[in-house]
Every structure is written in C-alpha cells, then in structure tokens.
C-alpha cells in the first residue's frame, strides 16, 4: 500500500466511530472489487444505524429504544436534549433536569447503581458513564448498555451525536450542539472587555483543586476569553499548592459560595486582589451544579459564567503579577 493510502487509513482509523465505514470506503476507492459489498453495508447502516460508545462497543438499533434508563445527570440531559425524554423510565439519583425526570424512579449513583431496580424496569437501553461500576453486571444480565465519557467539549458533542443516532435522527444531535455553541458565542460577547484576556482561578474543591485548562470547564473559560492560571500541562483537575494561587494573583476567582466564604480566612489568601476587590463569582448550589455538569447545558453554563463576569466590579486592572516568578 502506498504511503499516501496508509496515511489516509491511519487518519480514518483514528476516528473511532467511523473506522469501519472508513475501511469500507477506502476499499471501494481502491477498486478492490468490494464496491458492491460496501454499498450494501452503507445502505444497511442507514436503515439500522449502529452506534458506537466510548468503549468501542457497537449496538445496532432496528428501531429507536422505547424504555431507557440513564445513570448520569449529564447523560440524562443529553438524551433529553436530542428529544428522547419521553422514553425515559428511570435515572440515577442526581439527575434533576429537565424537571420531568424528577418523578422517575431513582436508581442509585456511579458506585451504587441499583442493578435489581434497573433490571426490573426492563429497559431496552441503559446509558451510563464509563466509570459506572454496574456496566459489566448490567450487560451480563442481558441489558444493552452504551457507556460514554464526558471529560471535554468534544466528548459532549460526540455523545449528543451518538444519542441522536440511537433515535435514528442525527440532525437532532447537530441541532442540540449548534444551540449550545450559539449560547457559548453569546456568552463570550457578554464578557466585559476589561476582563477579556484576564486570568481566572476556578476552584472545584477546597483542598484546593482547580479546574485546569484541560477540563471541560477550562475549555468554557477559554471560550470566554479568560486565561486559566492552571495551564493545560497540569491536567484537568490539578491539586494546587495554595501559594501558587496567591502568586498567580488571578483577576477573577470562581467557586461555589461555600468555598469563597472560606477563602479570605485561608493563610495568606487575604492578599488575593480578586478577593479584596470583590472580583469573585460565588455560585449558589444550583448554579454551581449547572456549570460543573458536562452536558448539553454547557452553553447555558457559559451564559451563567458570563453573567457573573458582567456584574463584577471592573478592575482598574493593576496588571496583576504575572503567573511566573518575580524573584
């Protein structure tokens, strides 16, 4: 095989979901006599779409599933965003959006999914996080499970497309993602000019753990034109040395209100200019839940972040000490 074709093959095979179709397409283009079979395959796919999850497992759906259980709030939201809400028969205990899912049976969480309760609901599809412990058990019991990751925007998008495919209508995935993107663009517009390019510290845990640039939250903050003090090299949710935050002097601090209340009392943090000058986004429990949920409401979350930014006292921006050392 020529080098060019090999590169093509490599690029295609990287796109996990379409790898099979890619192989078939390449073979057809190369004129290896498989054109007929390939066409048959593609035609069959459009009738009975096969959906591949983030584990690489494929399921074929002859008809859209009628009884669906979701075991992660962001998956519940994604499933509803592509129009599947009416088919839900149960969710995990934390799913609370849209309001219609509140009345459904609650089936535990990541570590303690109630296998018996799930099986009793006789679902024809279970949507779970890859880290859900019950996945193997549910499959062993004959249930069809799709498991997804949602660590970044690309995975949220891919999940929306995959779920729309389950429903036999990929356009819904595209529409849901476009709506999310439109909200994000709108949010970026709302960020005050004085804060654009400013640095931000987003705390996800008081230890302190930050939302780094590599996390989905970091990606949203990047879209809002903020510079994360926890750069991509530190990974998605690094445990930081508290003095690093103080040295970085972020222009904006974001965290749940229960954390921001404690911040001025932490050793040395009274000297954080963002705290002194009130450039703090202190989220109440509901908003914090919204912004930390990697699902189709990413756009709504971005708007919530932008709305907070718009209300902050604008800095005369004494250009804060750069994150680097100033020895």
């Amino acid at each position: 095989m020529s080098g060019g074709a090999a590169r093509w093959l490599e690029r295609w095979s990287r796109r996990g979901r379409r790898a099979a179709a890619g192989f078939v397409l390449l073979a057809a283009l190369a004129g290896l006599g498989l054109a007929q079979a390939a066409q048959t395959d593609l035609r069959a796919e459009s009738v009975n779409p096969s959906v591949r999850d983030d584990r690489g497992h494929s399921l074929r759906f002859d008809a859209p599933p009628q009884r669906v259980v979701t075991l992660l709030p962001s998956l519940t939201e994604a499933w509803c965003a592509v129009g599947g809400c009416a088919r839900l028969v149960g969710t995990d205990r934390y799913s609370n959006w849209p309001a219609s899912v509140l009345d459904l049976p609650k089936l535990g969480g990541l570590d303690d999914a109630q296998v018996e309760g799930i099986v009793a609901l006789r679902p024809d599809l279970v949507l779970a996080a890859r880290s859900t412990r019950a996945v193997g058990r549910l499959e062993a019991l004959g249930l069809r499970v799709l498991a997804f990751d949602s660590d970044n925007h690309a995975q949220v998008r891919a999940t929306l497309f995959a779920l729309a495919r389950v429903l036999g209508d990929e356009a819904r995935g595209a529409a849901a993602w476009q709506a999310t993107q439109a909200q994000m663009a709108q949010a970026a517009q709302r960020v005050p000019a004085a804060l654009r390019g400013g640095s931000v510290y987003f705390e996800v845990d008081a230890s302190p753990y930050a939302a780094g640039a590599a996390s989905f939250l970091g990606q949203t903050l990047h879209l809002l034109q903020l510079r994360n003090i926890a750069g991509p090299a530190l990974g998605p949710f690094p445990k930081l040395n508290p003095e690093f935050v103080l040295r970085a002097q972020p222009q904006v601090v974001m965290a749940a209100a229960r954390n921001t209340r404690q911040m001025p009392k932490r050793p040395g943090w009274g000297a954080l200019q963002a705290l002194q000058q009130g450039r703090v986004c202190a989220f109440d429990a509901d908003t914090y839940e919204l912004v930390t949920r990697p699902g189709p409401r990413l756009g709504e979350a971005a708007l919530a972040l932008a709305d907070c930014l718009a209300q902050l006292p604008l800095p005369g921006l004494p250009q804060a000490t750069p994150a680097g050392p100033a020895r």
């Binding site: 445990k239 050793p267 000297a271």
Partner: protein
Amino acid sequence: MSLLAASAATARPRTTPRRMAWVLGGLSLLGLLAGLMSGSEGWQLDALSALWQPGHDWHTVVAQIRAPRSLGAWLAGALLGLAGAVAQGLFRNPLADPFLLGSAAGASLGVVLVLAAAALAAAGSSGAWLGEVAEAGVVAAAFAGALGGMALTLLLARGASHTLRLLLAGVVVGVMMTALNDLIVTAVPQALRGRQSFMLGNTAFLGWGSVGWLGLGLLLTAPLVWRLSRTLDALVLGEDSARSLGLDLPRLRTALIAALALATGLAVSQAGLIAFVGLVAPHLVRRCLPGPHGASLLASAATGGVLLLAADVLARSLIAPQELPVGVLTAVLGGGYLLWLLHRRGLAP
C-alpha cells in the same frame, strides 16, 4: 524497677538521649528551613530573606503560608508521634497507633457529621451563620469524635487489660464508624468533598491559627505524658506488678488516654487523617534509644514531627506547583522504612 533497668542495660543502647536530641533538633531545623524554601515554584534558596522583609515580593507567601504550614506540619506530626508512643506503651502492643484504636475513625466521623450538617443547613435558608458554626465546630467535633471512638473501643474491650480484645474492639469500632461515615456521605453527597481531603490528610491550609492550636496541644500533652512515663514503664511489667508498685492505675490510665485523645484529636482536626506517623515514629525511636519511656516519648514526638514535615516538603516540591496528598507520602515513607526494618532485623517490642 530493677527489671527495667536490667532490660535497658542489656538492650545495648545505640545512642544517648542527649545525642538523639541533637540529631532530632538538627533535622527539625533543617526541615523547617527546607519548608520555608520549597513551594509552588520549586526550591528558592533566597526565600528565607523574604521572611524578615515585609515589603519583599515573597513575604506573604513565606510568612503567611510556608512558615505556619511547615511549623504546623511538624507540630501535627509531633502530636501523632507522641500519641503513637503513648498508645504502644499504654496498651503494651507495638501495633497500637491512634488509628488502630478508633480515635481517628471517630474524629473523621465527627468531622463528616459537622460537614453534613453544614451542607444540609446551607441547603436551607439560614446557611451563612451555620457555615461559620460548622467551621468552628470541626475542631471540636474531631476532638469529641477521637475521644468517643477510643471510649467506645475501651468499652467494647472492657478496659485496656486484654490486648487482643482491645485490638479487635479497635478494628470493629473503626470499621463501624467508617461505615457510618460512608452512610452519611451517601445521604449527603455534599460532605464528600470535605471528607476526601480530610481522609488523605492536608497540610496545605495550616495557618498561624492552626499552629496555635497544635502548639497548645503539644504544650499540654507532652509534659503530662512526660510526668506519666513512669506509669508506662511500670506497665511493661504487667498490670498486677504495676498495681503492686502502688500505682493508681485507673486514674493514671484515664489521664494517659485523655492525653492520647487530645493529641490525636487536635492533629486530626487540623491536618486530617495522616497515616503511619503515629505507628512508625515510636519504632524508629526504640530502635535507636531502647530502654524506659520518658526520653523516648519526647523523641517519638520529635521524630513524628520530622517525618511529617519531610513528607509535607516532598508533597509540595515533587510535582510543583501541584501537590501530592501528604498522607500518601507518610504512608510510603514510614511504611517503607518499617518494612525495611522488619526485613533487616525485626522490630523491638
């Protein structure tokens, strides 16, 4: 006492208390200096000068974060080392440490109860003031929990005379309290975050306030334990012999347990569950300084301090500006050294 003196003589001391004090003092000083110099940007040799210059760029970092953090880590380690030495002497068991007797599990349960109550209150209307109460209450809850855990262990074991029964009771209380802990966290997931950092131990936010609490704890417990060290020496001979020496055992034992609970509760409330320091420090000391309690109790405290301080310095410098959980490092350092000791020559009981 002649028996003890004889055993001390035959145990071939490897060092004198005076030399031990110099070594531990020197190591502590070195550790504190390292603590001032290591931070989010690796090692800075010139950071020391910032401590004395309020206008210096690094003054806040060094004076408000690194100094209390290093001192606090040493003090917390010292309290755990002291508690471990007392527990091993009191229960005549080299496996005893604050964690095996239910005090740490109790402290952890206390903290989680307060966190959960605060989370529930925050969900209601009157969140802010209850949050304040919760913060102040964590220290008290950890202390009360430590005391409660040990009391329950002693109750189940019907006193501290039967070692096997005592250890079993400690394990059961630990498991029960951990299970209760898990139950609360399942019901109130908001308390999970707080618990996570508590379980792994955290020295990152030790400020001057924490140093004050820990220092006060050491000032109260160390002299008390020093005074009661003769009781521990007598207990080596067994309870009957100790009684025949005229010791008021129930009263003395209560005082020792109170000191043990105070030390553990304070350390755990400020720095979380830090593994292994309390178990390893007395072993390290006994290896170098065999013989009666007394000097070795204080040496265990200093060794615990040095161990936790070293772990803290490593935790913040190994992958700066990120940090490792300090409890993981104490387990690796202390546990590794203990295994090496076991392999080399066995442990002195």
